[in-house]
């Protein structure tokens, strides 16, 4: 299952979306996510999905990638769906033991699922089209005002970008350790949930040890290359807005306003 998680993997491509300033993409994603949580008509999620899929097309990222990003959340989605359908009161559709699935519940479940899916899709798009370094410098610049109240934004953005950079390395490591322990007879894929919980120690401890080793190595490598949290750094690619960003902002705001309007009109 870990093999399918693609979040945090930059998809190298030369597209309009890739060229946008990170802050533009951040703002666009944020506006979109706010909007989909304000939308209250399930039918509106269809144009929302269309909008996202078009953005994937413009970014020249295959739709299969959009799906791959969702796969990692399949369990969460399923759980949400079942949970939502049974806890909501309303017209009864089906009763199993003490659980009753209701019409209103299913409706709510669908819209909640749609929200999560759209959120994941838009966040994945941001991750696919923005390198972690760009992301960090975008966050750094957008939130720099917080430095005034002694929030260490620069260090935090460096941390975030490194964390992102190491996600694929870590997933690779999880796979190797799982395979290695499977070779020693651990079966990660069967047994009751409690038995499976017991099997995580042979996975978690080596991972933890490796994480510590890697961070010690990395800290040393960064120090050797002159990194010091105290000092100012120059930027290889300083963020600059271009006309493309202005157009993108307009589109993002228009979409946001349209989605909010559906609340009033529909």
């Amino acid at each position: 299952m870990m093999r399918d998680i693609t979040i945090g993997k930059y998809y190298n491509q030369d597209s309009l979306v890739h060229q946008l300033d990170c802050r533009t993409k951040l703002a666009g994603t944020l506006l979109f996510i706010i909007a989909i949580f304000l939308v209250n008509r399930p039918v509106v999620y269809i144009p929302c999905l269309l909008y996202i899929l078009i953005l994937y097309k413009v970014a020249r990222i295959p739709w299969s990638y959009a799906l791959k990003g969702l796969k990692g959340f399949a369990l969460l989605l399923l759980f949400t769906f079942i949970f939502r359908s049974i806890i909501t009161d309303g017209r009864e559709i089906l009763t199993v033991w003490i659980f009753t699935v209701t019409y209103e519940g299913v409706l709510k479940a669908i819209s909640l699922m749609a929200r999560i899916m759209l959120m994941v899709l838009s966040a994945s798009l941001l991750a696919y089209t923005t390198t972690p370094t760009q992301m960090a410098s975008g966050l750094e610049k957008s939130l720099f005002f917080l430095e005034k109240v002694h929030v260490p934004i620069r260090e935090m953005s460096m941390m975030v970008s490194i964390a992102f950079r190491f996600i694929p390395v870590f997933i690779e490591e999880v796979n190797i350790i799982m395979d290695a322990q499977a070779s020693r007879g651990v079966d990660f894929h069967s047994g009751s949930i409690f038995r499976r919980m017991g099997k995580v120690m042979p996975l978690v401890i080596p991972l933890f040890v490796s994480a510590i080793r890697r961070s010690a190595d990395l800290a040393m490598a960064m120090e050797a290359r002159g990194y010091s949290e105290a000092s100012e750094r120059t930027k290889y690619r300083p963020l600059r807005y271009t006309s493309k960003d202005r157009i993108a902002y307009v589109i993002a705001i228009v979409v946001f306003v349209l989605l909010i309007l559906t609340r009033i009109i529909l």
Binding site: K9, Y11, N12, Y65, I176, I177, D179, A180, Q181, A182, S183, R184, G185, V186, D187, M201, P202, I205, P206, V209, S210
Partner: protein, 284 residues
């Protein structure tokens, strides 16, 4: 025949855009008691191949038969297979996790259903084989030196008493001294009947220890034979991105320069005798 591999194909997605055809129609038979070295440049498919042997990866097509039975048939007991075909990963010390050395080594046998006592007995025997003294049994595996950790990790596989031992670059990063110890242990195990499959980057190692060399090149097996046979084809070895063992390289260069070398051998002593003979004859 112990292991029969027939026309194995395997493809995976390496990055966003690319698919890698990692194994192409790989067929290979392995007899019991052989010491086979699998060599090839990085990405040639040898590491992917060995993960098929204990069922960690399932091939897209083709078949693997272990002791005559296809491991891909329904209800084949994969856990039994993993006990019989022990696979030691690269840098296996990264998989240690228990509080004590003994518990870590006993982990495999415990998973195979042995009682605590049985498992610990097997673990003790395995630790003895790799030369880890009793005084270290109760200590934490993380307090050992790099070479000791490697040996403990290998003991973790040996404790399952496999019939086939597959090792993916077990000597990477080790000192020559520790490395030779380990390789001698493998040779000893072969003599006691265990089949050894060794993935290696060191042609010197291969030339000195293996009875048979299988060369992988971009997902295919391109050569298969005794070290002497395989390293006799200098051109093909070079094409596979490999180097010659120095002994062989020397013999080849001598022949090219007109010295009447007649026997191409990977054995240093034989090679030396031969060269010394040739020179002494000339002197006489």
């Amino acid at each position: 025949m112990l292991i029969e591999v027939e026309k194995l194909n395997y493809t995976y997605a390496s990055s966003e855009k690319e698919k890698v055809h990692a194994l192409k129609d790989v067929s290979l038979n392995i007899r019991q008691g052989e010491f086979v070295a699998l060599v090839g440049s990085s990405g040639s498919g040898k590491s992917t191949f060995v993960r098929h042997l204990n069922g960690l990866i399932k091939a897209d097509s083709g078949d693997i038969r272990f002791q005559g039975e296809s491991i891909y048939q329904k209800k084949y007991p994969i856990s039994k297979l993993r006990q019989k075909v022990g696979l030691v990963f690269q840098y296996p010390e990264h998989q240690l996790f228990s509080r004590s050395v003994l518990a870590d080594v006993a982990f495999g046998p415990r998973n195979m259903g042995d009682s605590k006592e049985e498992a610990e007995n097997k673990a003790k025997a395995a630790l003895e084989k790799v030369g880890i003294g009793e005084e270290l049994f109760e200590g934490s595996p993380y307090e050992l030196s790099g070479g000791q950790m490697r040996r403990v990790a290998i003991a973790g596989i040996l404790a399952m008493e496999p019939e086939v031992l597959v090792l993916d670059e077990p000597t990477a990063g080790l000192d020559p001294y520790v490395r030779n110890q380990l390789l001698n242990l493998l040779k000893k195990m072969q003599k006691s009947g265990v089949t050894i499959l060794l993935v290696s980057h060191s042609m010197e190692e291969v030339a000195n220890y293996a009875d048979r060399v299988v060369v992988f090149n971009s997902g295919r097996i391109c050569m298969d034979g005794s070290p002497e046979e395989v390293f006799a084809d200098k051109e093909k070895i070079r094409k596979a991105g490999l180097e010659m063992p120095q002994v062989m390289e020397a013999l080849w260069q001598l022949k090219e320069q007109g010295i009447p070398v007649h026997e191409f051998t990977c054995n240093e002593k034989t090679a030396i005798c031969q060269i010394v003979d040739i020179i002494k004859k000339k002197e006489a």
